[in-house]
Symmetry: C2
Subunit: 424 residues, 2 copies
């Protein structure tokens, strides 16, 4: 694209190279000056006849040109499809809401099919009155609506040892962000007569699938903002997201967001289940393990340009975009570096950060074919700054799988391609 | 369900009828006291083996139990499927975001399939430099993210003459609410050199389909908040919503949100096209017509209970819910009446109303089998109060098709069924 000719403001001349003055207008990147563009000058087939009716697909799917924008698995990462991870195509998305159809999901013994009529949720243990709720019961309690991100503790886990996976979908795609409608867990606990006077300081939650995926949650969190969600993005949860009801544990690791939730036991201590001992703990350099590492710390990633989204339009204006989030609350700032962290520019947030929800950021800039070491770093309302990989390794060593919230680097090459790299 | 026994607070006893004290717990609505519920006491098939892998459906669809939650047409309303209206199943949704797969769509000559490579957007007329943008060009401009409702001017149009369609999906389902990522129209106009010094006080916008659906928009609105949207709910627009780019005209009638937008002409006056003269004007009692009735006034509807969502769980607690919106800005209050508008209770808003976006409201109440004449009325930040049908008819007569934002009444019968009725 052409440089600013000096005739107008730089914005005015933003795409000046893409047009011919006067009547003979041209699309950017099209053939030379005077050739008429048939897409402009002739009536196209889609403007002549009738398009398709929509009744044939009453629940719509994306247009066929977008067939690449789908969840993807990493074959070597998990044993087989009954314990797989399907990553969100974050490289191709914008905004903040993740459509359910391409929202990441991870399961431990397959996605089960549980009808509403067969659904039961038991609350037992240290409560006045053990109870079982049907799905219809859940619908009768006052419910709330909140947008929250859900991130797997293992998101970016493959990157601890070095730059491995070549695409934001694979390095950072174990995350989604949806609007949940659900019943506060505190409401259900109160219904069962948990009064705060019992010894019950923890809840143990488990799902109806064969793995049961049991996890212990401190009562303080259970009473604070946990939801038993029955809708996501306005509609019923998808099968793979826990239909008909899942636990939402805002800001905390996705493994605790138990799907197909069937039981909540009030206890006097944590269970120390498989999913919180041999799994979902962080082995340090000295062989000891951090446990109860529930909160997902502030993190961000540039989604475009990135390995799956190279710069293909040549030099000139380019929009750098990505997303940021924090389990501690709101994102207040995101910085972008083009030189591997030596210098930083403050990105534009699409809207004010929301509590424990994805924030979209943009840096509207110009690329002149130079190489970039492109990074983003998130800062949340607590003042926490997303760390570098070196900083994180210094504290955690190299044995970890979970909770890698380090700054990601994409090497943008002079041909516009991008590659996952590390900077020292 | 049982009444409060007096042992606890009413919340504590909310569903007391649904449990047996001690060990033998029962689901609500299940058989009598001591019968064990096999869904609790025996290991179910879905907890024994493995569920389904998800890789087989990389772009996911709703679970088969939700196959009723789909867009629906009203056969007699439009001639055939090339000019049809497919209504959002608002009765079955919650929250505010409408999933694209079930979001209403209306087209005038079918939903066309237009590839990004074939897409062109021309800006011509009273501008310094006529321009044509490719899709790749659009992606290079600074973009914004906003959640907006889109309502067809004809939503509830069939109800002008009396209560006709028995379901919120059909009376109020020509609406959706999505998060758009797009380029401000003012940015594109500035790029083409519209300076405000020309005579260009209007834009005329048209789509690439055979209908072209041309509409005139005053420059003030074009510069204010219109977007050329390239994403909805984070992903590419669906074919039926205008892939790859549509105009977003926040708060104004959906017909102006031109899909597959191909041209924006800056003009010194409106075109007075078919779509803004013989259509999309409101014929009054004296035979004259109101024109330029662009803004969608404040409106609301109870989505549950409603004819498609009867009360099936018997007496006791029930959540009344619905949605409210205003083309003039934020919703500040929603009231609910159970007696056809004689008395009103203030509903709970799920979150603070947002500018020109859907607001979800709830009234957590108790139903004891009495008949209700259930209504909701929205109030927006301008102080405007949603009118009754009688008030609207007094001003507009009975000849109108468009802009019916009157209060809707559902007759809730003693058996829990609901019917579309009018109250005098």
């Amino acid at each position: 694209m052409a440089e600013d000719t000096g005739r107008g403001t730089s914005r005015r001349a933003f795409l000046r190279g893409s047009v011919a003055a006067g009547g003979a207008v041209l699309g950017a990147g099209m053939a030379q000056a005077a050739d008429p563009d048939p897409l402009i000058t002739t009536v196209q087939p889609w403007a002549q006849g009738f398009g398709d009716g929509v009744d044939a697909t009453p629940y719509g799917l994306p247009i066929r040109f977008e067939e690449d924008v789908i969840r993807r698995n990493v074959e070597w990462l998990t044993a087989d499809t009954i314990s797989s991870i399907n990553f969100t195509p974050i490289h191709a998305l914008d905004g903040t809401i993740t459509p359910a159809g391409c929202a990441f999901e991870r399961h431990h013994s397959g996605a089960i099919e549980l009808a509403k009529e067969d659904y039961r949720l038991m609350i037992n243990g240290l409560v006045e009155t053990p109870m079982v709720f049907s799905y219809a019961d859940l619908e009768r309690f006052p419910r709330e609506n909140h947008v929250y991100f859900c991130e797997c503790a293992a998101n970016s886990g493959m990157e601890w040892a070095g730059a491995q996976l070549n695409g934001a979908q694979f390095t950072h795609g174990m995350i989604h962000n949806m609007e949940y409608s659900g019943i506060p867990l505190r409401t259900l606990l109160a219904e069962a007569g948990w009064s705060g006077e019992t010894e019950g300081k923890w809840v143990y939650v488990e799902g109806a699938d064969a793995s049961s995926n049991g996890r212990s949650i401190p009562m303080e969190k259970a009473l604070d903002d946990c939801l038993v969600a029955i809708k996501a993005n306005g509609e019923a949860l998808r099968k793979e997201h826990g239909y008909p009801a899942r636990l939402v544990v805002p800001g905390w690791e996705g493994n605790m967001w138990v799907k197909w939730i069937r039981r909540i036991e009030v206890m006097d201590g944590p269970v120390e289940s498989r999913e919180e001992t041999s799994k979902y703990t962080d082995t340090l350099a000295d062989g000891t393990s951090r446990k109860w590492t529930w909160v997902m710390d502030a993190k961000s990633v540039v989604t475009s340009p990135s390995p799956q989204m190279p710069i293909t339009h040549g030099q000139g204006p380019v929009v750098i975009t990505g997303m940021a989030w924090s389990g501690h609350g709101r994102i207040t700032r995101v910085d972008v570096s083009k030189d591997g962290g030596k210098t930083w520019e403050t990105a534009r947030l699409a809207r004010e950060g929301e509590n424990k929800a994805l924030t979209r950021f943009y840096l509207d800039t110009v690329w002149e074919g130079e190489e970039w070491l492109l990074q983003s770093r998130a800062i949340d309302e607590t003042g926490y700054v997303q760390p570098t990989k070196a900083q994180l390794r210094e504290v955690r060593g190299l044995n970890s799988i979970y909770h890698n919230n380090a700054i990601q680097t994409w090497w943008i090459k002079s041909n516009g391609e991008a590659e996952n790299v590390e900077v020292s």
